[in-house]
């Protein structure tokens, strides 16, 4: 029995292959060696992790090259590169989130940040707060209100147009030339630079209402140009996966096409449509460039989208960084900018989360 086992161990099938524990040994050696090297050069955790990873990759590739041959070594090298690329791609994400959290939390927790606007806050107040070490005055209430209102109007414009277009493409167009052209143009529209959408809205309204017209509504139009294609694409996908049997059953009962769409097709697809719309909102609420050229820079609260300049979170961040309220003491402005950035990221993440929840909550019930 024991002779049989030893024979099997050295069989031809496993010859020239690294044993299963080889990778663990290499990993352990790499970690220890990296720690030793870092101890010589000055220790830090990030450098240690990077060095261990590199040493592990080199170790596995060379050991494979020696024992297993060139093909296996190339395979291990490719695996190391692919995994390494993924880890590199995570670095900026982690770095952005840490930077925003560290810089944003103090400002976001400052009293009045969510409840006050920048009305009456000038360089004098900022200089005083730096000199006396008092809390930074001013907040992002006006920007938050502006962002919500502009996005709301953009949604009100985009959703009906986008949804109806998707219905046309799926239910009426059925692959004719017009629907192919619309699909192509929607794809092209997805790629319009956001600043060009802003310029379009600005140019349109300066021709209609005179040059220099900057209101929240102009910004909403600009955002709609960016939002409509996203809504069309996601709704189209959702309508396409509604089973044809449901439509045919409705037609067989003599139900009109439009009532079939309203009462059967859309309710079946509503979860996907709603989550697609939420994702589209999440995309446009962070847009900065179109608002920069259409809504102006307000420092006061303005609830009327049809008149006067309007602030928004992205432009608030931009102006606080580029033109600090007090040029000699930019720190209060920087603090407000990071706090607003954290608020904006939280909003976007919440919307993304909401999209997933909506998709689950409104999903059509299966069975009884």
């Amino acid at each position: 029995m024991s002779t049989l086992l030893t024979e099997r161990k050295s069989s031809n099938l496993t010859r020239g292959r690294l044993p299963g524990y080889a990778s663990y040994v290499t990993a352990g050696a790499a970690v220890v060696l990296a720690a030793a090297l870092m101890a010589l050069a000055g220790f830090n955790v990030l450098g240690w992790a990077v060095l261990s990873g590199l040493l592990y990759a080199v170790g596995t590739v060379t050991s494979a090259a020696v024992v297993e041959g060139r093909r296996k070594a190339v395979d291990r090298l490719a695996t190391a590169l692919v995994v390494g690329a993924f880890l590199v791609a995570l670095l900026p994400l982690v770095s952005v989130i840490i930077t925003v959290l560290i810089n944003g939390i103090p400002g976001l927790l400052a009293p009045g940040f969510l409840g006050t606007s920048m009305n009456g806050v000038s360089g004098i107040q900022d200089n005083q707060s730096v000199a006396n070490h008092t809390t930074v005055l001013g907040g992002a209430y006006h920007a938050l209100a502006g962002s919500v209102l502009i996005t709301l109007w953009a949604t009100l414009i985009s959703v009906p147009i986008g949804l109806l277009t998707a219905i046309y493409l799926v239910e009426y167009g059925a692959g004719n030339k017009l629907s192919k052209a619309i699909t192509f143009l929607v794809d092209v529209m997805t790629g319009i630079p956001s600043i060009v959408a802003g310029l379009f809205a600005a140019a349109l309204f300066s021709m209609l209402l005179g040059p220099g017209t900057k209101t929240g509504f102009v910004a909403a139009i600009a955002l709609s140009v960016l939002m409509i294609p996203v809504v069309v694409r996601s709704s189209e996908e959702m309508l396409k996966i509604v089973p044809n049997e449901l439509r045919e059953a409705a037609y067989a009962l003599g139900v009109r096409k439009w009532r079939t769409i309203m009462k059967v097709v859309i309710p079946t697809a509503i979860s996907g449509i709603a989550s697609g719309v939420t994702l589209a909102i999440a995309r446009v609420i962070g847009e900065t460039a179109p608002l920069l050229v259409t809504a102006g820079f307000a420092t006061t609260i303005n609830f009327n989208v049809f008149s006067g300049w309007m602030a928004s979170l992205p432009t608030f961040i931009y102006t606080q960084i580029m033109t600090p309220t007090s040029p000699s003491n930019p720190d209060p402005s920087t603090q407000r900018a990071w706090a607003a950035a954290l608020l904006l990221i939280l909003l976007v993440m919440l919307l993304n989360l909401a999209a997933r929840l909506v998709a689950r909550l409104f999903a059509p019930r299966k069975g009884r």
Binding site: R71, K72, D75, A78, L81, V82, A85, F86, V88, A89, P92, L93, S95, V96, V100, I161, G162, L164, T165, Y168, Y172, L178, S179, A181, I182, L185, V186, V188, M189, T190, G191, I192, P193, I195, V196, L199, F200, A202, A203, P211, P229, R256, K257, W258, G286, E287, T288, A289, L292, V293, F297, I317, Y318, M322, A337, W338, A341, L344, I345, N352
Partner: protein
Amino acid sequence: MSITKQAGSAGGRTGDKVFSGAALGAGVLIMVVLFAVAVFLLVQALPAFTAAPADVTGGRGFTSYIVPIVVGTLIAAAIALVIATPIGVAVALFISHYAPRRLAQGLGYVVDLLAAIPSVVYGAWGASFLASQLKEPYQWLADNLGWIPIFAGPASSTAKTMLTAGIVLAVMVLPIIASLCREIFLQAPALHQEAALALGATRWEMVRMAVLPFARGGIISAVMLGLGRALGETMAVALVLSSGPLMASLIRSGNQTVAAEIALNFPEAFGLRLHELIAAGLVLFIITLVVNMVARWIINRHKEFSGAN
């Protein structure tokens, strides 16, 4: 009874007509909007094209104003693609073929999170955190590789340069390339992959022989869509780059992109300057339009012969 029934059915017929009309109208409206974008930009841009050369910013006509910033835009996009393409393709491969099945979807969501972060936040991150980290590497590049024109010194002391802007752009286009490539890789025919493995191919050989040839068109179009995004991206460049005249060195302050030029100058612009900036926007629109159309054309052609939907 029969009257109400007829009225009901007539109402239904009207409803049908109204509804299909509205759906058609919405579809046509989208075509009109895209057309209107082009027309309004063209009309508002015309004064810049016809203005006397001395009146245009720079004093030598619109062409010599726009060419340097178009070249700057192309440089920024090129840096972004050189960095983002290999990493994006590798990330997509990791999620589609290397990561454990159970983790794959969650990891894909993590990469998509990169796309969810607003561009102005990337700009702020690039200007404050990334630039401060890159000062020393740029100094090293200028000292040791300064003989290569793109690394010619003296290195910028703030590191707010074209290379920094390009890296931030790379981070922003990475999720686009990664998610599109992932879709394509997942569509690669499973039978081919299994056949390759059954013939004794290693995982990498399987990927190289059965997945990458299938996905070539998809990868090209994903990169081109990323290019479209990088060309039009505004805030990251506006916040990160301290702009200046066109120059070859990527680690000195200088260069400018079309989108950032518009964003930085539009709020204070009036008169002819306004028309100039809109004309610059028109140029950017046309460039991205061409890039996107070519990308979509490649995708559609690819769809037809791959049988994938």
